[in-house]
């Protein structure tokens, strides 16, 4: 991380993607798309872990390098910063259902870095951020439609 100027760092996010038991269909497509995002300079992959939660709720964490044939992810794997600590595993796995596998991805939003830097240079401070769930958008649209229909 020392080679990066912190003032130029883009926002760092994580996501946990769960693959429920019986619904797993790994074709390599995810890896290809992730590599594409990294190669395009959209994101920088900081860390990846694979979590497995058994039927009793016990969690096992795997390094990407222990996941077998990495395919397109080989190059990314060599550049991981291993930001996540063992303590994080339990916190991240909390959201998983028993019997599922999850991929954890930590990434820097390179696309946002120049904008974030410019905002900081202008004296701006990020005081809130978040994601609007699609469910909320649908609810908003449906409420709008209802309003137009009933005029209420």
């Amino acid at each position: 991380m020392s080679e990066y100027d912190l003032s130029e760092l883009g926002p760092v996010d994580y996501l946990v993607v769960e693959f429920p038991e019986g619904q797993q269909n790994f074709t390599g497509e995810i890896a290809e798309e992730l590599v594409r995002l990294a190669e395009a300079g959209t994101i920088r992959v900081i860390d990846i872990l694979i979590l497995v939660k058994d039927a009793d709720g016990n969690v096992d964490a795997m390094e990407l390098s222990d996941a077998g044939d990495l395919g397109a992810l080989v190059q990314l794997e060599t550049e991981l910063a291993e930001l996540l600590a063992a303590d994080d595993v339990e916190h991240l796995a909390y959201a998983m259902n028993p019997g599922s596998v999850a991929g954890v991805l930590v990434y820097e939003n390179l696309w946002a870095a120049p904008f974030a830097s410019a905002t900081r240079r202008a004296g701006g401070q990020l005081i809130a951020n978040g994601r609007i769930p699609i469910q909320a958008i649908i609810a908003s649209i449906e409420a709008d439609d209802e309003l137009e229909t009933t005029g209420a």
Binding site: Y14, V16, L49, D60, A61, M62, E63, D66, E82, L83, L84, A85, A86, D87, D88, V89, E90, H91, L92, Y94, A95, M96, P133, I134, Q135, I137, I138, S140, I141, D144, L147
Partner: protein
């Protein structure tokens, strides 16, 4: 498989147990026409839509 030693004993960056997010596919699959529903969502984030106050 064990984690790499560098991860052990370090302070974590995820401060607390994370809550499960609503599953996105559940929002677009119900109803008579998921495709139509997806189109509605697309329209909602299309430039030019104005809020009603």
């Amino acid at each position: 498989m064990p984690l790499r030693p560098a991860r052990i004993g370090r302070v974590g960056v995820v401060g607390a147990p994370v809550a499960k997010a609503a599953v996105v596919t559940a929002a677009v699959t119900p109803g008579p026409s998921p495709v139509a529903k997806a189109a509605v969502v697309g329209a909602a984030v299309t430039p030019g839509r104005r809020r009603r106050i």
